[in-house]
Symmetry: C2
């Protein structure tokens, strides 16, 4: 195996060890030594790949987010292939005719994909929670959120705009799409927190999100 | 000073030391020894008041929540005294005539009081964030949320019901009040998280919450 690939593979193995710790006992007080033990390598070897806990946490978070992105893309892809949602022979022809899956349905898949509804997304949100607790006191980790969240909000706002143009939205008071997008992201964040705390089940969280989306979309 | 009062006063001093740490560097990896140092007492003396970090965190969280409750009550009291909001000579006569402050306005004060909009509420939400990160992996700490959140949701739901009975709500699709209340609590939770992360200012968080409330209430 080429050296670069090996390096990346080893970093992923370490990230997975970190996720196992994050999803069972959390990251409070967890040292690089603990993660090395979980990954079954020496501390010196771990430090060859990550010099600090924050560096490791950031890598693990980015990777778990990219896996979540991929799962969400697959769910959107499945939507496009469903009958009656404008499924065409290829994504290109859909774009040409403007007949992709309804933007409201795409928006729903994105938001549902962010909730802890199965084991994979649960681990992702647990790593996210551990990251959040550190990031509020760490300028470098905060940067990640300050860049990522407005980008996500812009994307969701563009879906809301498309939905309006296609007449998918309900008749109620229309908010500015960016405001609506930030409200949706915040809502999912809070629903996730109360699911992780056991205040509600994942199913209840999904039902509550759907109740809010039903208010925004006339018919999705 | 009687011994019991002294005991409680000392526990409050320790809780305040914990808040100072929580609001500056967070509680990740913070030991009882660190808190004893911040409170300027010996570790042995601290352990006379709190045996474990979780016991101390729970006491500090309950106390900071009760201070927040008190601030919110004062803000609601101030509403009742404002002209044009049904201010009567006493709370009793208001209850008799059903002319207290509008339930929508009370709801808004409760929710705004939960956002980190000033230094006191900011410290409260920082302690809450530190508690959250531990609670998702600690059954006893989770219990606190599993009891407290449904109680809060019930209270907010009762305000929503009163608002509907008084015709304060907007014409849009009406959700079940408990669902609406859980959505509001989740929304405030997420808005708080993104304010603490510096994704938005406190002012922006308040504006976004108001945009959502304006959608629910026709005229508040």
């Amino acid at each position: 195996m080429p050296k670069k690939v090996d390096h990346e593979a080893r970093r992923l193995e370490i990230a997975e060890a970190l996720w196992r710790i994050a999803s069972t006992r959390g990251l409070d007080g967890v040292s690089l030594r603990d993660v090395a033990a979980e990954a079954d390598i020496s501390l010196g070897r771990l430090q060859h790949y990550f010099r600090t806990k924050d560096e490791m946490l950031l890598f693990a978070l980015r990777h778990i987010n990219s896996l979540a992105d991929q799962r969400i893309r697959e769910r959107i892809g499945a939507l496009a292939a469903e009958p009656g949602t404008g499924a065409g022979p290829s994504a290109e022809s859909e774009a040409e005719t403007g007949q992709g899956p309804p933007p409201g349905a795409v928006l729903r898949e994105c938001l549902m994909g962010m909730l802890p509804l199965d084991e994979k997304s649960r681990v992702g949100t647990l790593v996210g929670a551990a990251y959040f607790a550190r990031a509020i006191h760490d300028e470098r980790l905060r940067e990640e959120a300050r860049e990522g969240i407005p980008r996500l909000a812009e994307f969701l706002a563009s879906l809301l705009r498309s939905a309006r143009e296609r007449g998918e939205t309900a008749g109620g008071r229309a908010l500015d799409p960016y405001t609506e997008a930030m409200l949706l992201i915040s809502l999912v964040d809070g629903l996730t927190a109360y699911t992780l705390l056991g205040v509600q089940t994942g199913e209840e969280a999904a039902q509550r999100l759907d109740a809010h989306l039903d208010r925004l979309f006339a018919d999705r």
